[in-house]
């Protein structure tokens, strides 16, 4: 890591988002240390994806402050240069593998386009960098030259990761990036993410509803419900001794050996 | 539902206002001054000029003229024809009947024949279906004026079964005179409706909820009626409505080809003879009818779809 700065690489302070009268995100604050891995856990409608979209500027916050790499990014970027600079700080990988790539463009061209945008490398150097990124996410030259339609879901998500890393971000947001994958493929991508974090020191903000996946990838966990944070702490502590009743309910709802679904008594008419 | 209706009503009024403005503005957009346009380039005796200036208030500012023109239009006064020295509204009234009955006759053909062929093709895959697909692919490409010529050539000239010209006298003779024109106007539209009916019913048959009904042992015919047709009704009604609306403008083609004394034919002759106030009047009437029919179609389709009626997001 270049410089051991202590203060967080990403900071949300009192973040809020309303759509009409509906409050999607209510007073969310959190910090992400350099090379750290924080997971936001919650079910649909908890506001976790809206938080991610506000950080990368796809949604405009109603209130609150977002600071990434020491620079404020609460308001939308004014100039193209500012927008590009923010692209170099925070990147995102989405959930659906089948629409995360331009169907008309090969993975190699997609990654190369980002390199042209963010670096001043020459064409040959760019091609070498594309190969390095391909190796980093475990893809061969053949995959990089193929058409997205020829790639499997797992391979497409790896391309999306490589494309995000091409901008050399300090923070990578993973918005349910492995949720749509089969178990064997999910494991491969989770391992790739672990390798990438070790080799590049990029920090992860992992958005997920899957507690087991979160335990595997994140150091700290923030639990969200109906737009606000109900609990936060180190992953092991939050998952093994959940403090908030909602977290306990979440934990108890996950099927595992010996688990049996039990009906809430008052529900039966 | 009320919110939806109010929104549609506001949209309707706004559209009518703007389109009437465009029709009126045509007067000013023409080369030369409005008086020359109104007179169609003819040199008019001074008293005729005075009548025109007074009737159209040509000396007032532009917007006042427009306001006056619209106010008159709403009261049914659409100005005066230069060539026939009669009120445009009377000229229109006498011809509107022909156009209306022509469109209604053609619309019946489109809705009955088009939807029927579309349904049969969708539900009877195989020979009949491919016949309809090929047939409609041909007929949809036959525009009304080509259809008119073919029908005249075959049924009027060669077979002499039906008259090729004029309005005819009396109700039943009128119907006889309207038959060929109605079929000419309806030909391509019927084929288009048949094709959309077929594709939307087929598409509904592939939907998951139809699969659920089949998986619960409900007879095929019932599944088709209660699910495929019911759901396909919205797209079919929408397109059928739009097709009928488009016939308002196309009626002119058929009226001219068959020498029917309708609004459309009169609009063409007035455009050719540069009788601008008549053009303005008829254009306004046709645009208004077109917008009204389209709005009715949208509201009708909304009725069929509960997601809109209860204000739910569709």
């Amino acid at each position: 890591m270049a410089e051991q700065i202590k203060e967080p690489i990403l900071e949300l302070a009192g973040l809020r988002k309303t759509f009409g009268e509906a409050v999607a995100v209510d007073d969310v604050s959190l910090t992400l240390p350099p090379a750290g891995a924080v997971a936001i856990v919650g079910e649909s409608g908890s506001g976790k994806t809206t938080v991610a979209r506000m950080i990368v500027g796809l949604e405009r916050p109603t209130a609150g402050r977002i600071t990434a790499c020491g620079r404020d990014r609460s308001a939308p970027p004014r100039s193209a240069r500012e927008r590009r600079r923010r692209g170099g700080e925070v990147q995102i990988v989405f959930q659906d593998p089948y629409s995360s790539l331009d169907p008309r463009q090969s993975p190699g061209a997609a990654v190369e386009e980002i390199l042209r945008l963010h670096t001043s490398l020459s064409a040959p150097r760019r091609r070498e960098r594309v190969a390095e990124l391909a190796d980093l996410v475990g893809l061969s030259d053949r995959h990089m030259a193929a058409l997205p339609s020829a790639l499997s879901g797992g391979q497409r998500q790896r391309v999306a990761i490589a494309r995000a890393l091409a901008a050399e971000p300090r923070i990578l947001i993973l918005d349910e990036s492995v949720a749509a994958l089969d178990v064997s493929i999910q494991a491969q991508v989770l391992n790739v993410l672990a390798d990438v974090r070790e080799r590049t020191g990029v920090a992860y903000l992992f958005i997920s509803h899957d507690l087991a996946v979160v335990r595997q990838i994140a150091d700290d966990i923030v639990v969200m419900r109906h737009g606000s944070i109900v609990e936060r702490g180190p992953a092991a502590r939050v998952l093994d001794e959940p403090g908030h009743p909602y977290t306990r309910l979440l934990r108890a709802s996950v099927p595992r050996p010996g688990w049996r679904p039990t009906r809430k008594e008052q529900e039966k008419a | 539902m009320v919110a939806y209706l109010i929104r549609r009503a506001i949209m309707l009024v706004a559209t009518l206002l703007v389109s009437s403005f465009v029709v009126f503005a045509g007067l000013w957009a023409a080369p030369g001054n409005p008086l020359a346009t109104l007179s169609g380039g003819r040199s008019l005796p001074p008293e005729a000029v005075a009548v025109l200036v007074e009737r159209y208030r040509l000396d007032d500012p532009f917007f006042v003229q427009y306001a006056n023109w619209v106010a008159n239009a709403v009261r049914g006064d659409l100005g005066m024809s230069i060539t026939l020295r009669q009120d445009v509204s009377d000229l229109i009234a006498s011809r509107a009947g022909t156009t209306l009955s022509l469109i209604v006759y053609a619309a019946l053909i489109v809705l009955v024949v088009g939807v029927a062929f579309g349904l049969l093709a969708a539900l009877r895959p195989g020979f009949f279906d491919s016949m309809v697909v090929v047939g409609t692919a041909m007929v949809v490409a036959v525009p009304p004026f080509v259809a008119a010529i073919v029908l005249i050539g075959v049924f009027a000239v060669t077979l002499r079964w039906l008259p090729a010209l004029g309005n005819g006298t009396g109700f039943w003779d009128g119907i006889r005179h309207l038959t060929l024109p109605a079929f000419a106007l309806a030909a391509s539209a019927t084929a288009a409706v048949a094709r959309v009916t077929r594709t939307s019913v087929r598409e509904q048959m592939g939907r998951e909820h139809v699969q659920t009904a089949v998986s619960r042992g409900i007879p095929y015919a019932t599944v088709v009626r209660r699910h495929a047709l019911r759901n396909a009704a919205v797209p079919i009604a929408t397109l059928a409505g739009m097709t009928v609306a488009s016939m308002i403008a196309l009626s002119a083609v058929v009226e001219r080809a068959f020498g029917l004394n309708g609004l459309g034919a009169y609009l063409v002759t007035s455009a050719l003879s540069k009788d601008f106030s008549v053009v303005q009047g008829i254009a306004l009437v046709l645009v208004t009818a077109f917008v009204l029919v389209n709005t009715l179609v949208d509201v009708g389709a909304a009725m069929l779809d509960p997601r809109i009626k209860l204000g739910g997001r569709s």
Partner: protein, 299 residues
């Protein structure tokens, strides 16, 4: 010709399972190409002057040098059909090009900027729907006098809302897809995203609509000419020939109307078939020549 060749190239670009046109699609494309060639070369081939009338040949049967015979005023039908083909293809081409250009630009801007601009554009489009093409053409002809150019312009304007509405909804759906949003987060400019990614992925829809609207434009333009408000006599145009030949039909000489009408129908069927095939085909894409060390052709 650009639209016709563009649609053909987009069609031909499909190899293997990508965007294959199928037999019908190729046949339709063949008919269109044949019509284009005849329109371009035809008038030079035929010696007869399409406007030279000779009353002695009125409704004359086919003779040497006049394979299709004569019209009511003794003019050679073949040469009139060929010269007529030129206006009947060029006219719709202008209409489609103008309306597509305006429609796509408006739609993509509205879909991309969204918010107030999108609602303003939608309201304007809603109002423009009030004017069917033929009606607007008649109004314009009454104001500016009959003529092909006025009709073409009027029809082009009348088509803009239909094209804009369709492209806008397709653009809105595409814009929400992750690969576009990822590019936004990367900081790529809106223009470069639209030009290099959004529009190319809308090509199948755009090509299909251009082809379908070509057949609508051909019919509407022929209608305007049929009224006598488009191409003015003695020039030849398929619409005027169908109209002009009507008196002949009544006297048992349907040749002029049927030939012109037939040409219209055949080409409209061809364009409809090609349009439907194009809208079914998957996007034809071009792989990046990674292995060959040519300069990286990602653009």
């Amino acid at each position: 010709m650009t639209v016709v060749s563009a649609t053909l190239r987009a069609g031909r670009g499909g190899r293997g399972e990508r965007g294959r046109l199928g037999a019908l699609g190729m046949a339709a494309a063949g008919v269109i190409v044949l019509a284009v060639v005849l329109a371009a070369v035809g008038p030079i081939l035929t010696t007869a002057d399409p406007n030279a009338s000779d009353i002695t040949h009125a409704y004359g049967a086919p003779a040497a040098g006049h394979p299709l015979g004569f019209d009511g005023q003794g003019r050679d039908l073949l040469s009139r059909l060929l010269t007529g083909a030129r206006t009947s293809l060029l006219g719709p081409l202008w209409i489609v090009t103008l309306s597509m250009a305006a429609g796509i630009a408006v739609a993509i801007t509205a879909a991309w900027v969204g918010g107030w601009l999108d609602s303003v554009v939608s309201a304007v489009l809603e109002v423009m729907f009030a004017f069917p093409g033929v009606l607007l053409a008649m109004l314009v002809a009454a104001v500016f006098g009959p003529g092909l150019n006025a009709a073409v312009l009027a029809l082009a304007v009348a088509y803009i809302p239909y094209i804009a509405r369709l492209v806008r909804s397709a653009a809105l759906a595409e814009r929400r897809k992750p690969y576009i949003q990822a590019l936004e987060v990367q900081g790529a400019s809106a223009l470069s995203i639209c030009v290099r990614h959004l529009v190319p992925n809308l090509l199948p829809i755009i090509a299909a609509q251009a082809t379908l609207f070509f057949s609508y434009a051909m019919v509407d333009l022929a209608i305007v000419s049929f009224f006598g408000l488009g191409v003015q006599p003695p020039d030849a145009d398929w619409g005027t020939m169908v109209g002009g030949g009507q008196s002949g039909v009544l006297q048992g000489y349907p040749a002029e109307s049927l030939l012109a009408g037939g040409c219209i129908v055949v080409l409209v069927v061809a364009f409809n078939l090609l349009g439907e095939r194009l809208s079914e085909g998957r996007p034809t894409s071009r792989p990046w020549p990674w292995r060959r060390t040519r300069a990286v052709g990602a653009a």
